[in-house]
Amino acid sequence: MSNVYLRSTSAMDRLVNGENLPEMARSRACRNLFGPVDHEEVGRELRMRLAEISAQDQSRWDFNFQDDVPIRGPGRLQWTELDSESVPAFYRESVQVGRCRLVLTNQPPPVLVAVIPRSQRRAAEPFDGPNQDPGQMPPPRAPAPTPPPAPVVARPLAPVLAPVLAQAVPRALAPVLAPALARAVPPVLANALAPPMPRVLAPALAQPVPPPVPRVLTPPVPPVLASAVSPALAPALAPALAPVLAPALAPASVSASELDADPAPDADAAPQNSAESGANVAQRGPEPLADSLHSGIPGRPAAGTAAAGANGAAIKKLSGPLISDFFAKRKRPAPESKSSSEGCPSASAPAGVGAPEQTPRKRLR
């Protein structure tokens, strides 16, 4: 409260530190309550609790803060690498000179974005349709025209804020998350996607010109080819492949029905495919991600500094899950509070000491 009138004059005393101490030492309040403290034990307990907290953080964010790398695997979040050109400048390393902001490096390091994959929300299904997964978006790489930065901030926040929103996101994110390089896709996911897709894809990509009808069952594209082809050709292939691939995909993926409903099926369908091939690549080469993350991060301090992105890869953590936790906790047991007015304490029985239900509650209006 702003008007507590009692005790302001003494705050000055705290500034004159040294002179105050001898007087304090005589004070009755200076006392040891529970006997001598074993400092080694305090240290042990400290390390244990800190380890507990960091394990908790790690599983909450699916991110290894010690090594500064995302955790691959079927976690709650899926980390996706972005070209830092596609995110607003304030996520990149920069220097502020007066009102001018200068971005430091010529080739800005990639940015990581976390999203909650659909598969998390529908645990029963082995995997979800590719176009529901922002990680599966097409990779028009460096030369591709970058979309205006504004939606980058606004959109990616949405899916993580409320899982419900996530459904709407992938499509909106498509251009933004584009550089979400396929190798960022967790191998597990890539595995899941591998059977239905590459058969169709491989021939399409293996030849410079897309064939009218996908021919059958060549072995999966070698990684070099796939990555070389997909960024450059993806836009060009898009219209050509889409009609061909859409029916082919239909039995294999959940997204088929969504493709029909999509306002622009052509644009959507083909980029998925190239992303799929990329996913296939990731399956075989899981290392590049870690490498790219570490590039230009000399001697980065360990935990918790990921968001700072001071020296190299700007790694953006979205605050979503925090906020959704927040809303989850908000739900109040309304019926309980209604009925609990009988359970309110009498003066004689110290009721509130017990379990929460014994607490005096408010009657709802």
Partner: protein, 288 residues
């Protein structure tokens, strides 16, 4: 030779903002307050080493430190809130309890005060049984376990909202406020109140303050019963619960007064030179 002019309050306070006292703010406070209550009665289910009397010991010590350092009124209840929430989740040996209390004061003071308590000073108050370095390290543990959720709602947040809705003369308000604040501090030392919603403690404290003052002089035009009903309406509290809460507060006050008188008698016998006035001074000013 005195060159220092102390007329001006060294802590500059913002003028009270009327916009922060409207009903929307009150409703929001009422909505979110229960999020910051400790999750369980931890003496039964979490703590093995710590007993209720130990909480009282550490709470009394924390209150003394806050009084002596003239912390803002909110610091102590807020620190107790951190302590309770931490203990509700983390089994703690009793030898760490004072360290934990110091950390909680450290955090609450940083959140609420312009010039916060220093780690060194807090360590001196533990009779140097803990080191400043430990205090700083444990700060991180407490923060982590509280999920950095420090801006808890305290009973103090409700006092102004309640007072402005009472038909009181202006000049009595500061006395009522001061007594209510003392009651709130008293409640924070007693585990009985740890799981009560802050709004109820605030309402009960204001009620107890006015009813207590009423015996000496006319501070309110309302009778005690009418007052309780009005108070209950202000914070949507059940009237019976509120009455019970107010009675509990009065009982705790009585208890602590008796304890104090006993201490005083013992103190005068042994002619202790120590300054007794460091424990809650305000409580003793109240005549029942």
């Amino acid at each position: 030779m005195e060159l220092l002019c102390c007329e001006v309050d060294p802590v500059r306070r913002a003028v009270p903002d009327r916009n922060l006292l409207d009903d929307r703010v009150l409703q929001n406070l009422l909505t979110i307050e229960e999020r910051y209550l400790p999750q369980c009665s931890y003496f039964k289910c979490v703590q093995k080493d710590i007993q209720p009397y130990m909480r009282r010991m550490v709470a009394t010590w924390m209150l003394e430190v806050c009084e002596e350092q003239k912390c803002e009124e909110e610091v102590f209840p807020l620190a107790m809130n951190y302590l309770d929430r931490f203990l509700a989740g983390v089994p703690t040996p009793k030898t760490h309890l004072q360290l934990l209390g110091a950390v909680c004061m450290f955090l609450a003071s940083k959140l609420k005060e312009t010039i916060p308590l220093t780690a060194e000073k807090l360590c001196i108050y533990t009779d140097n049984s803990i080191k400043p370095q430990e205090l700083l390290e444990w700060e991180l543990v407490v923060l982590g376990k509280l999920k950095w959720n420090l801006a808890a709602v305290t009973p103090h947040d409700f006092i102004e909202h309640i007072l402005r809705k009472l038909p009181q003369q202006r000049e009595k308000l500061s006395l009522i406020r001061k007594h209510a604040q003392t009651f709130i501090a008293l409640c924070a030392t007693d585990f009985k109140f740890a799981m009560y919603p802050p709004s109820m403690i605030a309402t009960g404290s204001v009620g107890a303050a006015i009813c207590g003052l009423q015996q000496d002089e006319e501070v309110s035009s309302l009778t005690c019963d009418a007052l309780t009903e009005l108070l209950a309406k202000i914070t949507n509290t059940d009237v019976d619960c509120l009455k019970a809460c107010q009675e509990q507060i009065e009982a705790v006050l009585l208890n602590s007064l008796q304890q104090f008188r006993q201490e005083q008698r013992e103190g005068s016998k042994s002619e202790d030179e120590l300054d007794q006035a460091t424990t809650p001074t305000d409580v003793r000013d109240i005549d029942l």
